[in-house]
Symmetry: C2
Subunit: 183 residues, 2 copies
């Protein structure tokens, strides 16, 4: 399994659908359908994003999730940490203390400070985390937005309206049609 | 399991014992004992390091492994790649192509180039790999060497000599006593 798992991938792709949907929450079921991922799997991810303050939940018939802050203020690092939890790149076993030459126990000089091998891994992890921190959900939403034609966003609004009122098979509201979105 | 596993940790700590041992190979059994790790586990790691050109094997009674090049020329990235193989930080599932709004298949604009989410992860991986590449086995050996007192290296040479001639219970050769080493 990759270090940054499919849970993060599902989470980010679903969050992207919430960009530009301020005040119009989407259920995790709808988000799962839009991203083509498992709804039960996604339903376990969104409570973690809510707990981390990335999304907030709206109750009621038209309930669901919306972004809790501006997409430019949501870093990839924040999303990864929210979904994966504390997950070090390297889990130091303090091998340095095991040398048989130390006899009954390692001397202070051998175990003081951070193990030099561990220190290298911590620097690599820091570099990775800084790169994730430097990119936001807003950055990626803009990249998608630049590629998608206006017809796509129109189709998205139509889909949302149909989803709202499945009994009629027609859009329940035209308020959702707001044209091109930033995804 | 951490992304950079215990195999890498065992491998690096064992490689450190080979720094300064040019021309005097050590068996993976001895290296395992010095690092306090499983000899059968380590015996599976060293052939990977040999294949990657990090160590070379010497046959015969006094056989074993020695570094194939200067420790300053062996980067942490090289060791990690040799032991872990190709192991991406993030395994993109091309979620972007699954959107039901695309109908029978995604249009070219939706799947051209690298997925923007994947691109962020690739930048994070590149940062991590650059940090691992910037540090060498020699750098860490020097850090250990600065901490260890001369008595420790004398004890190491005595241990090696005893190990060479277990029947006598005494050092088989004084040639190995070369004083302070760079670990």
């Amino acid at each position: 399994m990759a270090h940054i798992t499919v849970s993060v991938e599902y989470g980010i792709h679903s969050l992207l659908w919430l960009v530009g949907q301020e005040g119009k929450p989407l259920s995790s079921r709808k988000l799962a359908e839009l991203s083509g991922v498992s709804p039960t799997f996604l339903a376990k991810i969104f409570p973690k994003l809510e707990k981390a303050g990335i999304v907030c939940a709206a109750e009621g018939v038209r309930g669901g999730y919306e972004l809790a802050k501006a997409p430019q203020d949501i870093s990839f690092l924040e999303i990864v940490d929210a979904i994966e939890g504390e997950k070090p790149l390297f889990d130091c076993q303090e091998i340095r203390a095991r040398c048989p030459l130390f006899g009954k126990g390692p001397p202070a000089w051998a175990t003081s400070g951070t193990c030099a091998v561990h220190a290298v891994m911590l620097r690599a992890e820091k570099s990775m985390r800084e790169a994730l921190k430097s990119q936001s959900l807003g950055d990626v939403a803009q990249a998608f937005g630049r590629k998608a034609p206006s017809e796509f966003w129109a189709a998205f609004q139509t889909w949302l309206a149909h989803e709202d009122d499945p009994r009629s098979g027609k859009p329940a509201s035209t308020q959702r049609s707001k044209g091109r979105r930033a995804r």
